[in-house]
Symmetry: C2
DNA sequence: TATTTGTCGAGACTGCTAGTCTTGTCAAGC
DNA sequence: GCTTGACAAGACTAGCAGTCTCGACAAATA
């Protein structure tokens, strides 16, 4: 999620409401740029918060994760959390995407069937990993109530949607899909099934399902 | 939702925690069945609560509907709400399904393509009606946090899923689908796309989309 | 070294909500 | 007239997000 939270070693999250580090920059005024004063940010606390959040997200069996719990687990004051993240959702999303693979480039083997099968199977598989799965589920549930978090998640999923759309687009140009195929609808069929089964858990998200889904989408939208 | 909340003129909801009306029945003991004493249930209040809930559900622009607001709008004490429904979610779901068409029998024209197109289009259309749409969205968001409500909603949606599955099953027996077609996956593609677009609102749920989706599902799962 | 600036942990506090409990009232049957 | 149970009103508890305050502490500067 580098586009939403471009954190580096010392940078603050982009979504901060106030950015204390930048108040001295004040463009248009030729204020003397004073690089930094005062105590520095505690990186250990920063890490501890993210770790605690991820840990709680993964452990919580549906029960919502509270900021109090995160702060207590991290051995940190609540204000320290709110100093660096604007809301609970931002912390949770940041914790989840912190270590996630950011360059979601879809496969490009030259054959749409292979690419799509791989993409769907990889998507299903990645979400199933026990560390991620519970955390992602909890996050999605939180997003249902928190519009701010929902927005953050949209930009997160948009990256993956785009990768899939481009994968399909390449295939369509090669004639492996009908010229008038509705790529957006195909994307939604993949992610619709994914989220539906992921959140409700009433059906499998195994490699076999991935293959069936990919193949039926190809056949259903094949060139005449 | 008569299967979840079998209310009639005098019956209490099935999901009640305590059932004051039944404490005197105590089976195994041949207690004298005393039919009823005390003041009767106020049907006007009952209706007012459901109406208020539906009204608030439809009006709320994402903001959660509170029990206080329902009670106040209905001109009713909070305890009167909790006397007849076990939780907020139960009230909301009951309000939404109160007037809904309960016999969700899928169409059966003898041709799968027609049946499926109609079913999908009807599903999309029904959810879009302005009265229902906002209420259903709010309800789904509430269900994300309230496991009890989630369970109630599952039994609600199960009826519709079954209708679709049977529609597909009939078509498969007529040879309009491959013998090994994964009906459950097709059902999930329909409802996956539906809920995905309905909740996120990033793509249309119009008749054209319904037709495309139905046709691609048929082609993608056609008999060889 | 002393001062300033800004972070830290701790925890009190506000505001909101679900759900419970209490109180006094009212209606239906005995 | 008495009992029973529904009723409106509203106080109350418990949990949570987010704010505010406090005294301690660390980095840069004078």
């Amino acid at each position: 999620m580098s586009e939403t939270e471009p954190r580096s070693e010392q940078a603050a999250p982009a979504v901060r409401t106030q950015q204390p580090e930048r108040t001295d920059q004040t463009p248009e005024q030729t204020a003397p740029t004073r690089p930094h004063t005062g105590r520095r940010r505690n990186e250990a606390a920063h890490r501890a918060i993210l770790d605690a959040a991820l840990h709680l997200l993964a452990d919580s069996d549906g029960t919502p994760v509270t900021i109090d719990a995160i702060a207590r687990t991290a051995g940190v004051g609540k204000q320290t959390v709110y100093r660096w993240w604007p809301s609970k959702g931002a912390v949770l999303l940041d914790a989840l995407t912190d270590r996630a693979d950011q360059d979601v480039r879809g496969p490009d083997t030259g054959t749409l069937r292979t690419d799509l099968r791989t993409f769907v199977a990889t998507t299903f598989d990645a979400a199933q990993r026990s560390t991620t799965a519970s955390a992602l589920r909890t996050l999605a549930r939180e997003a249902a109530r928190d519009p701010h978090l929902a927005e953050l998640m949209q930009t997160f999923t948009a990256t993956r949607r785009t990768a899939l759309r481009e994968l399909l687009s390449r295939g369509r140009e090669r004639g492996e899909l009908a010229g008038d195929a509705d790529l957006e609808l195909i994307v939604d069929q993949v992610y619709g099934v994914f989220w539906y089964r992921f959140l409700l858990g009433h059906g499998p998200l195994d490699p076999n399902t991935a293959e069936r889904l990919a193949d039926s989408l190809l056949t259903g939208n094949a060139a005449d």
